[in-house]
């Protein structure tokens, strides 16, 4: 438990700082709200693509989030394999390469269909 004390202290400090700064800025800052202020940008370029409805984020970025999750999961599978690699040898390598190949196929699909285009 002693090992974790510094971590907990840091956590508490970080949380305290976050709460403090948010609270102070809410309490002391000037409050003027209008639609222009709540816009994605107060000034600057027009955001493209436009979000639908009143949302702030265009649905297009869902594919980006999806890609992130898939690679996240993939990495979680790679960790045990990498740690135990010397024991797993060829069997593990083949299993993982097969897995990676499949994931890459999904990625290729997304890329070819323009899921990654930034427009």
């Amino acid at each position: 438990m002693e090992l974790y004390t510094p971590v907990l202290a840091l956590l508490a400090l970080a949380a305290g700082f976050a709460i403090f700064s948010v609270a102070v800025s809410t309490l002391t800052g000037p409050k003027r709200y209008n639609r222009a202020r709540l816009d994605s940008y107060e000034c600057g370029i027009e955001p493209t693509p436009q979000p639908f409805g009143g949302g702030r984020i265009p649905v297009k970025y869902y594919t980006v989030a999806m890609t992130f999750i898939i690679f996240d999961v993939e990495i979680m599978f790679l960790v045990p394999w990498a740690v135990y690699f010397d024991q797993l040898s060829w069997f593990g390598l083949i299993a993982v390469v097969l897995f990676l190949f499949n994931i890459t196929l999904a990625y290729a699909y997304e890329w070819r269909r323009g899921g990654l285009d930034w427009d």
Binding site: G55, K60, A95
Partner: protein, 273 residues
Amino acid sequence: MIAFWVLAPVMVIAALGILFVRKAVHAALLLAVVMISLAMLYAALEAPFLFAVQIIVYTGAIMMLFLFVLMLVGVDASDSVVETIRGQRVLAVMVGGIFAVLLGVIVGQAGIGTAVGLGAANEGGNIEGLAEVLFSQYVLAFEATAALLITAALGAMVLAHRERLVPRETQADRAAARVRAYGEHGDHLGPLAAPGVYARHNAVDTPALLPDGSPAEQSVPTVISNRGTGRPSPSYRDVDRVVGQLQSRRDDQDPATDTVVEGSGSAARGEDA
């Protein structure tokens, strides 16, 4: 065990909160509290790898997606408290009853016995132990998970991605189209004027002034002008008034009064700034 007794009440309260908060985004944050606490319990249960996975996959990825979708559909989406299916709450109470039974069952077994503990299994390292199980009994399930992830990718692309009907328009295409429009209809070729930042005002919601004093409406970003946000009309009226003043002075007074007009103009500018 201290960790457990500290975290368990927090988790139960946070979980109960999910039932009662009105806004979905608050529910998501409470769920994140439960998940992070759960990660710490995993650490207490000799599952350091799951501690990391819980944080990275659940809190980092899954909750992120939840919050993302909440932002997408609008954070304010809250549910009505009107009961539409009659007996809904009764059903919920019944489920609460099942909960009580379930709870009773397990507490009734108070002490399912001393835990064997994972000392022996984790001897060569927790991750190594997991890898051994993962790549022996569950290697097929592991490969099958790839199918699941591909399905997820297909689903997200089908439901959230709109494919192009026509090929993507490149910058060169756009430049050519502009020049063509200029050639055929005489449309304005260059970039539009900047908004009125340097004219009379320092915000983008005010149009720039053309040399004749009239507002260049195209200089206001279309986002703002379409939504009618900001302060479009006062500044327009202001321009009209000042232009009118200028004209009337110029028409019937001697040049000396011009300085006065300039003075009032600069005063107005000061106000707006």
